[in-house]
Amino acid sequence: MSKRKPYVKPMPANWFMANRFHTLYMLREGTSIFVGLYSLIMLWGLAALVKGEAAWNNWLGHMENPIYIGFHLIALVACLYHAITWFSLAPKAMHLQKGDQKISDKPVVVGHYIVFVIATIVILGFVAWGGAA
């Protein structure tokens, strides 16, 4: 008769607290809450824009509330963390090679950071110089 009795360790719902890498993974996934909430805030702003100038200024007024400024500071950090993880994982989805040598991930990651800096400058510059008009 078999003496086998394999023991299966239960996996607790907070499994990601036991390992640093897993904790950082859950943090990465958690950044999406801020990304989603910011989308809703922008949609709210867009709705105000449609209603007219008074509604738009009212929305801008809400954004000056310290609670909203605090939220946006945290959301900015979350979003930057998302960006860092996104850039470091982006090269994994493609296989690049030159001749018979695989190209390392590094140039692709660096390229992402360069585009990030350019995009940020362009967006900030566009608003600063009133490019909309």
Partner: protein, 248 residues
């Protein structure tokens, strides 16, 4: 640290008498070049002959000595006591696999998954042996070489929470091996494997935790193979809408 001793905590589980695993502490003599399996050998030879654990090559190629060392999947032969002087050492069997006895994990499910993806070259056209070998250029080899270095140690399964949460998921090494054959210029078996790729149990069970690639002792990078599998499956999804595949 010359004649110093070091404490090593080892997971024990004896199915005949234990209902659950427990930890047992041993003192082993410390040396700079001592690996985890050297410490386990010392325990088995001198302190407790009933300790069970797997090992074979002692040189990170057979893939049989995977354990959790302080909660991190490691090869026992490639992990040294000297790196744990400040933290102490706790050795457990590989996570996400049933515990057979002590440090021996039951990796049967992992082995079945490796077989499931048809890990061999499949040809649609029958080529006679007389026509000679299938030639491959170095550039064609580069397309899959990294993914062929896997030693089936299972560390990536112990690292993968998605496999832990749902072991229907094919998991890192099996999906990587699948990708390895699909990328091989001599292989024509993609259509026989694509259903696995496309499934929830296939690449779509992965949320890109990425820990598999971090713990892999051979630099295989399973996470990248699975990401590329997602791209391939997405392409196949679109193609199937445009031009339905004939049933096979």
């Amino acid at each position: 640290m010359n004649s110093a001793m070091m404490r090593v905590k080892v997971q024990r589980y004896r199915p005949e008498q234990d209902d659950a695993p427990f930890m047992q502490e041993f003192e082993v003599p410390y040396a700079d070049d001592m690996s985890i399996i050297d410490a386990l050998h010392y325990i088995k030879d001198n302190l407790d002959g009933t300790l069970s654990y797997r090992w074979s090559c002692r040189m990170a190629i057979c893939g049989s000595c995977g354990y959790m060392v302080n909660g991190v999947p490691k090869l026992g032969c490639k992990t040294f006591l000297r790196d744990y002087l400040n933290t102490g050492i706790t050795v457990e069997s590989l996570a996400n696999f049933p515990i057979e006895r002590d440090l021996v994990a039951d990796i049967g499910d992992f082995v079945e998954k490796l077989e499931e993806i048809k890990p061999y070259i499949i040809r649609q056209d029958a080529v006679s042996v007389d026509d000679g070998e299938h030639l491959q250029t170095p550039a064609q080899l580069t397309r899959y070489r990294q993914y062929s270095l896997c030693i089936n140690c299972g560390l990536c399964y112990a690292a993968c929470p998605q496999y832990g949460l749902n072991n229907e998921f094919m998991g890192p090494a099996a999906l990587t091996l699948l990708h390895r054959y699909n990328q091989d210029s001599r292989d024509q078996g993609r259509d026989e494997r694509i259903d696995i790729v496309n499934a929830e149990e296939g690449v779509w069970g992965c949320t890109f935790v990425g820990y598999c690639s971090e713990v892999c002792p051979k630099g295989v990078d399973p996470a990248s193979a699975i990401q590329q599998g997602k791209v391939e499956s997405s392409t196949d999804f679109v193609m199937s809408k445009l031009r339905p595949r004939r049933p096979s």
